[in-house]
């Protein structure tokens, strides 16, 4: 399959290369140039919209900043093309950072709101800053002269083609690297991602800046292609078109943005030519009716599901015949198209084609690249990134208070975890065990109190930086990256072992390959350790519950923690599995990792814990060796209600 894929990619590039000779009409060559430029921008926009799952309504403005940076540099300072383009990328990336750094601090629709405001303001600023941008009159720019040769429209086509191919390679490599995996992980489960040291905030900003840089590249290329730029181009309407292109072409694909670019470049032409519009809308209506009839026949869809989309497409076709001019209805048609795609084609055209292929030729589609690395015993363990320096207690929590409104989930809790021990944390439901975990890992910021870990105060630090310090955890309600394979989940945990940068990823340097190989061997070894070696390439969401819990342990160990927090690891395990789990925890302890264990299976707690702390209503009611705890009156009272004497 990959051979077929490679051949078709080479063929596609070859076809694109000979197109201008087959079709030497300057108008069409210019259209193709614009398609290429839009495709570069859309590849970047897809990183934000498709992979990270944020909505940007400011990409037209970023495109404009790229255009105007090149335009102003050329117009005011006569900077050459080859310098103006990288400058545009840098400036636009900077603007992206200015937007993303504040807007992504909070979850919610903030990025969409901020970028929308940004889009309007930028257009106003371009108009107002006449001394720089020449205001509404616009800027004129000439295509560069290289070695005494004036670059023509056709020459420029090849320049854009090269830029597009390079952009494709860069985006493909980034998304297949640990960076792309981080993007997918934070979209899949933000909390788990943070607790694996992959900061959701940092990588969202990273993705947005990358995407802004590509918008800058596209913008600067656009300046030289049009040779004249004015503020009106970079309107809200263009932003809408870009988003339409990304979702219509198909998110999370490389072909989708190219297809989307073709659609939005052709769309205005289609809408200005009523005959063409009639033909195309009739064609789409016929396809929709036929496909719905087929889907009904094989019972893939119900009548209720297909009625509205069929009616909409038919209505669109009919409207073409009723009206003799549809240019005025342009925005309505864009709006209807977006609604239609969001509801009935959520994965876009490429996603739809893919689902058809899956239906008829499932062996052609590979959702994941299988990682066939075999694990072994010596690669399971590695030293922590931050060696344990403190003697005595590895972690000390002093007077922890966690208050939710009027409820004190934790009230003045002191906790001392001895280095190398297995420390049990038990208590009835609602006693504050999981809250303790969440406070220790930085998910909650404690209302009062202090946590010292390995000689460092970590209170108030972010979950990802705490994970980086060497605290790993599992979750009571499993938080795996469901759409990733088991081994990919572990690789997210190994994210901290990838020290190479974006540049290494783009050029696939030996260092990049070395670290990738090492991580894959390590991941396979960890899977073997928890007994999931044969399920390495299975999607995590398809694993049975008990195995998912084991996978979480493997993923947590990948962080090379010095402290491992296990939140009810035995829940959902069968008796023989529990025996293996106990052996596993003992092995983890043997390798110098301190463990905090929350568990309701008392036999597990009593057999492996050195010290047990008992919580009740957010307060520590007892602490001691398992034997002492078992006979402690307060503990018995908390669990059974009423005193032991009274019973």
């Amino acid at each position: 399959m990959s051979a077929v894929k490679n051949i078709s990619i080479v063929l596609a590039i070859a076809v694109a290369a000979v197109l201008p000779t087959l079709w030497p009409n300057p108008y069409y060559i210019h259209l193709m140039v614009v398609i290429g430029i839009y495709a570069i921008l859309l590849l970047g926009l897809d990183i934000v919209v498709g992979y990270v799952g944020e909505v940007s309504l400011g990409h037209a403005a970023l495109f404009g900043i790229g255009s105007y940076t090149a335009g102003v540099l050329h117009f005011q300072l006569a900077v050459p093309f080859l310098l103006a383009v990288p400058a545009s990328i840098a400036v636009t990336g900077l603007f992206g950072a200015i937007l993303a750094l504040p807007a992504l601090r909070v979850n919610g629709p903030y990025l969409a709101m901020v970028t929308l405001a940004f889009g309007t303001i930028i257009q106003i600023l371009i108009n107002e800053m006449t001394f720089l941008t020449n205001g509404p009159l616009g800027l004129s720019v000439r295509k560069p002269i290289w070695f005494g040769h004036q670059i023509t429209g056709t020459d420029y086509y090849y320049i854009v083609l090269v830029a597009l191919v390079l952009a494709l390679i860069v985006v493909q490599r980034v998304l297949k690297s640990h960076l792309g995996r981080a993007f997918e992980a934070l979209h899949d489960s933000p909390i788990a991602s943070d607790c694996m040291g992959v900061s959701v905030y940092a990588y969202k900003v990273y993705a947005f800046v990358l995407s802004a840089g590509m918008a800058g590249l596209a913008g600067s290329l656009f300046t030289y292609s049009e040779e004249y730029i004015s503020p009106n181009t970079y309107s809200f309407e263009l932003t809408i078109l870009f988003l339409l292109a990304v979702i219509m072409g198909g998110r999370k694909t490389r072909t989708g943005p190219i297809l989307g670019a073709i659609i939005i470049v052709m769309l205005p032409n289609v809408l200005s030519d009523i005959d063409l519009f009639r033909k195309i809308s009739t064609g789409i209506a016929v396809i929709a009716v036929l496909y719905s009839a087929y889907a009904l026949a094989v019972r893939m869809r119900t009548l209720k599901q297909v009625t509205i989309p069929v009616l909409v497409t038919v209505a669109l076709a009919v409207s073409g015949y009723v009206m003799d001019n549809i240019t005025d209805q342009r925005l309505t048609i864009f709006g209807v198209m977006i609604l239609f795609v969001v509801y009935y084609l959520p994965n876009g055209i490429m996603g739809f084609v893919r689902s058809l292929i899956v239906r008829f030729r499932p062996q052609w589609v590979h959702r994941h690249v299988a990682i066939l690395e075999q694990g072994d015993k010596q690669h399971v363990w590695s030293v922590p990134d931050h060696p344990v320096t403190s003697n005595g207690f590895l972690l000390e929590a002093r007077n922890l208070v966690m208050q939710f409104g009027g409820l004190k989930a934790l009230n003045e809790v002191n906790l001392q975890i001895a280095k190398g021990s297995v420390h049990g944390l038990i208590g009835p439901n609602g006693s504050g065990k999981s809250t303790t975990m969440n406070v220790l890992t930085g998910i909650y910021n404690p209302t009062a109190g202090e946590i010292e870990f390995n000689g460092k105060v970590i209170t108030g630090a972010t979950p990802s930086s705490i994970a980086g310090e060497g605290i790993a955890r599992t979750f009571q309600n499993v938080q795996l990256f469901g759409e990733m394979t088991a081994i990919e989940n572990v690789l997210v945990g190994l994210h901290h072992t990838y020290k190479h940068s974006l540049v290494d990823v783009v050029f696939q340097t030996p260092r990049c390959r070395r670290e990738k190989n090492a991580a894959e061997i390590r991941a396979a070894s960890l899977l073997q350790f928890v007994g999931l070696a044969d399920l390495a390439n299975e999607e995590a969401r398809n694993l049975p519950y008990g195995k998912q819990r084991l996978l979480e342990i493997a993923r947590a160990l990948a962080l090379n923690p010095s402290l491992l927090l296990l939140d009810e690891p035995a829940a959902g395990l069968t008796a023989p599995d529990i025996k293996e789990l106990i052996a596993m925890i003992n092995k983890i302890r043997e390798h110098g990792i301190t463990v905090i264990l929350i568990e309701h299976h008392m036999d597990v707690v009593m057999s492996i814990c050195d010290i047990v702390t008992v919580l009740d209503f957010g307060q520590k009611i007892a602490e001691g060796t398992p034997a002492n705890i078992q006979s402690d009156e307060k503990v018995i009272e908390a669990y059974l209600g009423g005193s032991a004497q009274a019973a």
Binding site: G53, L116, D328, N438
Partner: protein, 290 residues
């Protein structure tokens, strides 16, 4: 000094309109975690429908009809755009659908009422009143009073009536409210009706002071985003203060810097507030439970 006082007074009227639109964002954000990116268009439609009605009746009689129209428009947006996206829990979905409905409304308005801005006949005298050398238009007073009145009415409804309690319960915890037998889907639809209704009302309040046209809503809706974030998406007090801050910032920038730059402080304030206190000046930061 007098000029500054004058600018502040003019800024207050503008700020109250922003506050009223932002209040509409809060209503839906509280119940469903979504907001209507076409709120500015709801305002614009309210103003234009009001303009058409005013040809046949008095301004005061037109207001209740516009309120009804606004509510119906909000229900339409919620049913077509938001409800399906809430079901699939897709943030991308509701943002895109409310935006596409917004551009459809704008396009329809362009085709019905034309591209040009139209003056809206003022129901009150257009000669300014003088207070200690500061000129105030009677219509500006009406804007402030009207905006405060409708916000107060909605707040009273939410606090005192049993239906309002359903809204508050849904805002606090949608799942729990659902389990207590509250039809939360209905509450969300209702919040959209209220939200668009306040926007339409804002439209007929502001229209006599500015020009009426299909593009009037875009910038107002956008400014109200800034106000909602500056004040805090969950603070009723916040939108009023946020609206006043932005309104005054704009009139003063317009006078002391340049009218061309009067839209800039909105974005700067927005970015600044997000950088310093992302939950807004008056917003409570909510601890997300895991």
């Amino acid at each position: 000094m007098e000029i500054l006082a004058q600018l502040i007074v003019s800024g207050i009227a503008l700020g109250m309109i922003y506050a009223l639109i932002a209040f509409g964002y809060q209503l839906t954000f509280a119940t469903s975690g979504t907001l209507n990116f076409g709120q500015g268009e709801a305002l614009m439609l309210g103003a234009l429908v009001g303009l058409t009605l005013v040809g046949h009746m008095s301004y005061w009689l037109m207001i209740p009809l516009v309120l009804v129209f606004g509510a119906l428009q909000g229900i339409f947006v919620e049913r077509v755009g938001v409800q399906p996206a809430i079901k699939t829990k897709s943030e991308f979905g509701w943002i895109m659908t409310t935006i596409s409905l917004a551009i459809i409304f704008k396009n329809v308005a362009e085709n019905v009422w034309g591209h040009d801005d139209i003056t809206f006949p003022s129901p009150l005298p257009t000669s300014p009143l003088q207070f200690m050398g500061i000129r105030v238009l009677p219509m500006e007073i009406l804007v402030v009073v009207g905006a405060l009145a409708i916000m107060l009415a909605v707040e009273l409804f939410n606090r005192k009536s049993i239906y309002g309690k359903a809204v508050v319960a849904t805002s606090n915890d949608r799942d729990a409210a659902g389990l207590m037998g509250i039809n939360t889907g209905m509450v969300i639809t209702f919040s959209y009706a209220l939200s668009s209704m306040t926007a339409a009302f804002a439209g007929v309040l502001i229209a006599p002071l500015t020009l009426t046209g299909s593009t009037m809503g875009v910038v107002l809706g956008l400014k109200a985003f800034s106000v909602a974030i500056i004040g805090g998406l969950n603070s009723g007090m916040g939108v009023i203060v946020g609206g006043l801050i932005l309104g005054i910032a704009e009139t003063t920038t317009g006078y002391y810097v340049s009218t061309g730059y009067k839209d800039v402080p909105g974005l700067l304030l927005l970015l600044l507030v997000l950088a310093i206190k992302p939950s807004g000046i008056f917003g409570k930061s909510v601890i997300k439970k895991v």
